[in-house]
């Protein structure tokens, strides 16, 4: 429950609620004016964490040398490998396959299913279990322009505008045009989309959308999709082999510069294997666990940017790694759920963000970077609420949802949220939620083309690990869409490329040897290694006694 002094502030929220309810009844979502172009630019410049002077620094190595990117990403890029190329005998291949897929969120799983429609041999490896991923955690929804008053052209505009027009047009084209077919594909696999009696889709709006376009499976949208894809993979044992608790730690190229496999590391037995593959798909997801600028994160335990690191070392280019998506509404109270996501759907259903005095201060559904900046501004101006552990937040007035749409609306539409808070004794039907922006999504990633291929022949990237689709800011529901669209494209293309009869030359890790030389020249501390694989939350005083812990901030 909320402590006394926070209840004081909640009383003020309750006092302004009737008035705000009237407003909402009259004006719908338009309870506060939307920001114009200039206002948006100003608030970003003044309050968004990416725009702080010290947020970025120059990368001194690799294909994006001299680009200014996020500090924490520079750190992992300017790192030594976990193990040195000399350690591996590439003449002894442990596993051979046609298509190697790294990572088993919905992007990797879709790729595997689609690739298995051909007769290619497929190996899927993942460092947790199949489906333990950001994909499983999405609550809000997946976009697709399939309504009569909507179309892919409007969707295209929304994606570009949300991304500040930096997006790669060919990727946005693929995204919006493949959207409806992707929904159909998922439904054929047995995903239970929320529907009305007559079979029409229940669709909601989301930040930055001009139509109601958000499809959902209650507030378990990510799970509603991901667990079906996983079940389908389980059902194709003859076609898709998989290995869990195993991380890719380096890509292997051949002497002609084609992607030719990966070094994989079995976490429990601490053994490495050499995998030779004709094509490779990186589907390793995002980087929330790098805790950029000390932010808490919504991301799963394995979101450590591994795919970026190994792809970059092999020569693939990064795109838009100067921007981070902070989700406006991360929990800041109670302490056990700090950083957890309060889905955008909460605002979609009518909950309003208000300050400690219960006052509205922003249109509830601005694009995420704008909305997050508005929350930060309120807190920096001391109009937020401070928690007992010193975190700041603003109220998301969830009880308003039931006043607007009737009792039971929360239980029906937000069961996961309701349960999450109930576990820690807060009933969000009666009390608002205290929120602050939380590190949510990696906007950029490894650059791909519309085939999901990189500039390295045979190397594909799909999902959050890829860059270009969303420019510098993704809209809600477009990531769940992109992992399906580009997961499938990657799977299909990687498998059909195998069919063209790829001839691999001699396997090589020379790119890693060369990379190490450059890292050495920078005088980087030998303890700085990547990929991180899993983060380390052991407290320092305990760590100090763990003498065998060789590496800082990573798995030992």
């Amino acid at each position: 429950m909320y402590p006394e002094y926070m209840m004081e502030s909640i009383k003020k929220v309750e006092q302004t609620r009737p008035h705000r309810l009237e407003l909402a009844k009259k004006l719908g979502k338009q309870v506060f004016p939307r920001m114009g172009e200039q206002e948006r630019a100003d608030i970003l410049a003044d309050y968004h964490p990416d725009y702080k002077d010290d947020a970025l620094r120059e990368l001194r190595i690799g294909p994006n040398k001299n680009d200014k990117i996020i500090n924490e990403v520079v750190d992992v890029m300017e790192s030594y490998p976990r193990d040195y190329p000399e350690t591996f005998d590439l003449n002894k291949v442990d596993i051979e396959t046609d298509v190697l897929i790294i990572g088993a969120g919905s992007a990797g799983l879709s790729a595997a299913i689609e690739a298995s429609e051909t007769d290619a041999e497929i190996l899927l490896i993942t460092k947790l279990r199949l489906g333990d991923s950001n994909s499983m955690m999405a609550q809000g929804g997946i976009q697709a322009a399939d309504q009569t008053d909507d179309d892919p052209v409007l969707h295209y505009l929304d994606v570009m505008g949300g991304g500040h027009f930096d997006n790669k047009p060919e990727l946005v084209d693929a995204l919006v045009m493949d959207a409806a077919p992707s929904i159909k594909w998922l439904e054929e696999l047995g995903v239970m989309f929320d529907k009305n009696e007559d079979g029409s889709m229940m669709v909601k709006s989301g930040g930055g959308t001009c139509r109601n376009r958000m499809h959902s499976t209650r507030d378990y949208t990510g799970a509603g999709i991901c667990r079906v894809l996983r079940d389908e993979v389980y059902n194709r044992p003859d076609k898709i082999k998989y290995i869990e608790y195993t991380a890719a730690t380096e890509l292997i190229l051949d002497d002609k510069g084609q992607c030719a496999g990966a070094i994989i590391y079995h976490l429990e037995s601490k053994q490495y294997s050499v995998v030779k593959a004709k094509t490779v798909i990186i589907a390793t997801g995002g980087f929330g666990r790098l805790h950029v600028r000390g932010f808490e994160t919504t991301n799963h335990y394995g979101a450590t940017a591994d795919g970026l690191v190994i792809g970059y070392r092999a020569g693939a280019k990064l795109m838009f790694m100067d921007s981070v998506q902070y989700h406006p509404t991360g929990a800041v109270f109670p302490e056990q759920i700090v950083g957890f996501l309060c889905t955008e759907k909460v605002r979609g259903l009518g909950a309003q963000p208000v300050n400690k005095d219960g006052e509205l201060f922003v249109y509830p559904l601005e694009p995420r970077d704008i909305e997050a900046s508005a929350f930060i501004r309120v807190c920096e101006n001391n109009l937020g609420v401070t928690t007992p552990s010193g975190l700041k937040g603003i109220w998301l007035d969830s009880p308003l949802i039931e006043e607007l749409s009737g009792e039971g609306t929360i239980e029906k539409n937000l069961p996961a949220m309701l349960r999450q808070y109930k576990r820690f004794d807060i009933d969000i039907r009666k009390y608002p939620m205290l929120v602050f922006p939380t590190l949510h999504y990696q906007n950029g990633g490894l650059e791909i083309d519309a085939n999901a291929e990189t500039t390295i022949p045979g190397l594909y990237v799909a999902g959050e690990a890829s860059g270009g689709i969303h420019g510098r800011n993704r809209l809600m529901g477009n990531s769940q869409l992109d992992i399906i669209v580009f997961g499938r494209r990657a799977g299909r293309n990687a498998a059909s490329k195998v069919k063209t009869g790829i001839q691999l030359g001699k396997l090589s890790l020379k790119h890693v040897t060369d990379y190490i030389k450059e890292v050495e020249e920078l005088g980087i501390d030998k303890k700085q290694i990547a990929p991180i694989i899993l983060p380390d939350y052991i407290p320092d005083h305990v760590k100090a006694k763990q003498l065998s812990s060789e590496f800082q901030g990573t798995l030992f």
Binding site: E37, L128, R129, G131, S133, M136, M137, A145, D146, Q147, D149, V153, Y156, L157, M160, G161, F165, P169, D173, V176, M177, A180, K184, E187, L189, G190, V191, F193, K195, E197, D198, G199, S205, C210, R211, N212, Y220, A223, R227, V228, E232, Y234, N235, Y245, L267, H300, Y301, Q336, S389, G390, L391, A416, R423, L534, Y537, I538, P539, K543, Q546, L555
Partner: protein, 228 residues
Amino acid sequence: MDVKHEMIKVYISGELFHVPEGSTIIMALEYAGFQLKKGIGCREGYCGACATVYREKGDYKLKGGLACQTVVTDGMAIAMIPFVPAEKPIYDLNDLTPDVGTFTQLFPSVFRCVSCNTCTKSCPQDIEVMDYVQALIRGDIAKAADLSFDCIRCGLCALRCPAEIVQYNAGILARRLYGKYLSKNSSELDARLKELDEGKFVKEIEELKKMPDDKLSKKYYSREIKIS
């Protein structure tokens, strides 16, 4: 976080550790020096990787829960269960029908349910597990799909079931059957697919792709907004 916490005792796989009060089981393990590689995934109650059994001080009951969602109490004894070696039948959804026959064939164990309700009591998602198993026995796929919806596949129900039923695997089959066969088609979706097949929108999108940013931006800011 700099709040001062009282330290409490917990027994992790039988070994005593002192950890801060208010920690979840995952936080307690990490505080104790474990770097988890198994039994952990999302850390937020969505993936079911962190099934754990525990017993609290003075209680004779063995309880189950999610390590990322359960707060430790003083004297708690904890054992994580990172993997449940449960049976999973292989099927091709395209060959199945959404009826009781499918379950007789693929999940004969379901029909052995003795209605003991142990599964429901052990579910950390508060799902009426027994009720969805019973719905399957009646051939009510829609009901089973609905009731099992929030399942995160933690495995705790199957671990305790005296009839050796793997409830969650039956649950996902019910949901997939519902999604594919029982839910009505969306006519709007089908109409859109047809339009896409006919190449509608291609020209307009191609134009937008070539449009300079300032023009595109104007178009964006002046688009009509119709949301509810």
